[in-house]
Symmetry: C3
Subunit: 211 residues, 3 copies
């Protein structure tokens, strides 16, 4: 019960962080205000919407929380001064932290729903990863780029994957739901921040395929 | 009751206009006949299909109306002489009008279904816009372009958004369903045509973000 | 009953062939291991997942068959030596055959489900084609390319379309389910291999549209 407000706070921060990453990429692509809003919207809610469609859950996450839709709408409108602020280095750092927390929260929420639906464990972990990263994938597709999560060689999906397995393990040994969620999301976020801080790289493939 | 044939006529015109816009972009990209049909098909039915999936409605719009699928199939096959005709200026004008009417009709149909499902008003308006514009978004994604509706700085989604709010307002004051639909769609189409005639532009973002 | 193991074998071969085509394109795009797995996964399961969402079937194909998910995961990890092997000419030939068989099997499975759902025949055929080809379409969209099936002028979707109509015809004259499936899939695969062997081309559009 005392956990609820904390989760809501993380959720809001995550949506803001995700939406801003969409906003930045859309502005870079010289989109108009409609495009900026659309890409911000899809980045923030795309992963959760895909999860809900795959699990056949309705109403969708963003239909249930219209306040979050308003939030992204307002963000788009006040984005310009906000982006000016964003040039400061410490804001980037804050963005990284909220994005990592958001990744953790979204991933574990997806895994948690899949687990409750009685799915096989590998599917539970995958559903968590999909929920966490596919907003960003859709953002990059709409911006006509190869999804960054697929080729920047930084651990991102992998952190969510690891966090989901920790969450699954905690459930297996009978941990309480809120504790499993908190630890799973925390490990995801922690791994992500550690990966950024220590500059971890995902092993690359030797590129021996010619066209 | 006397309204039904009129709506069907608008719907058919809209599908033709949407399909032709897909056909033109696919031919520009030098696709083969399969690609041309596929892109025309997705442009015409993508927005409605996404709406139906998001609202969990089955059968899908185009499954229920197989005659429309045949229509797009025939259009693809007779598209070549048709495209020759399209070089005339007045055909472009007719296309603009049918496309605007289609945008209006599809947007209000989406808003109307979301309203009937008891969704919050901002979601109703968004669902209308999604229904109206996402066929075009999918067309551009399949053609490996940034969606035109996001970056051409012409009001399109915005017209649908305005029309949906008018539709919502009319419902709120208790207007009859067909009247609200007709006025909402008419305002959307009218705004779109006005925007084209008067060369309105969506405010652009100052591009101060460097890569 | 004796058919079951054969179908499972074809299904596994098809998933491997589809996954490898995704893997190859992802490596060409210099993606990291996460990207390679994701694209392989989407190529193998995207068409079936889209079919299930459009027909509102749950659990999804790959949720029901977690062993196939593990298969793609392992494929990604052992892909490097595998790709070295793939340089041999005969492996390409084997890939073409399994891909053709996979196209046939997936297409007819999609058509069969749509037929059982009582859909109009044109929709049944389309649903078959979508199931067979949209994994590849998603692969190309994620790799930021125009879908190959839309513009390489080789019959692929068309073979599936023809095979689906044969399947529908066989059902119409009361053939047994397994026989219709086998012949439909066989004709699809046969046409595809014939098209490759004889270098058939899909008629191209004269490109008379200027930007």
């Amino acid at each position: 019960m005392t956990l609820e407000p904390l989760l809501t706070l993380i959720e809001i921060s995550a949506i803001v962080a995700f939406a801003i990453s969409g906003l930045i990429e859309a502005v870079r692509k010289r989109m108009d205000v409609i495009g900026v809003f659309s890409v911000a919207f899809v980045t923030a809610f795309g992963g959760g919407a895909l999860r809900d469609v795959l699990l056949d859950r309705r109403p969708l996450f963003w239909v249930q929380h219209q306040e979050y839709v308003w939030l992204v709408l307002v963000l788009t409108l006040i984005g310009l001064p906000l982006l000016r602020v964003l040039r400061h280095r410490w804001v980037n750092r804050v963005m990284e932290v909220t994005d990592a927390l958001g990744l953790g929260l979204f991933a574990i929420s997806g895994a948690s729903l899949a687990l409750a639906a009685g799915m096989p464990l590998i599917i539970v972990a995958l559903m968590g990863v999909i929920t966490g990263v596919f907003g960003g994938v859709m953002r990059d597709v709409l911006c006509n780029e190869i999804p960054m999560v697929f080729h920047d060689h930084r651990p991102y999906a992998l952190c969510a994957f690891a966090g989901c397995w920790v969450f699954i393990g905690l459930n297996f040994i009978g941990a309480e739901a809120w504790l499993a969620l908190l630890i799973g999301a925390g490990i995801t976020a922690g791994l992500r921040l550690l990966a950024l801080a220590l500059d971890w790289r995902i092993p690359s493939w030797p590129h021996q395929i010619e066209d």
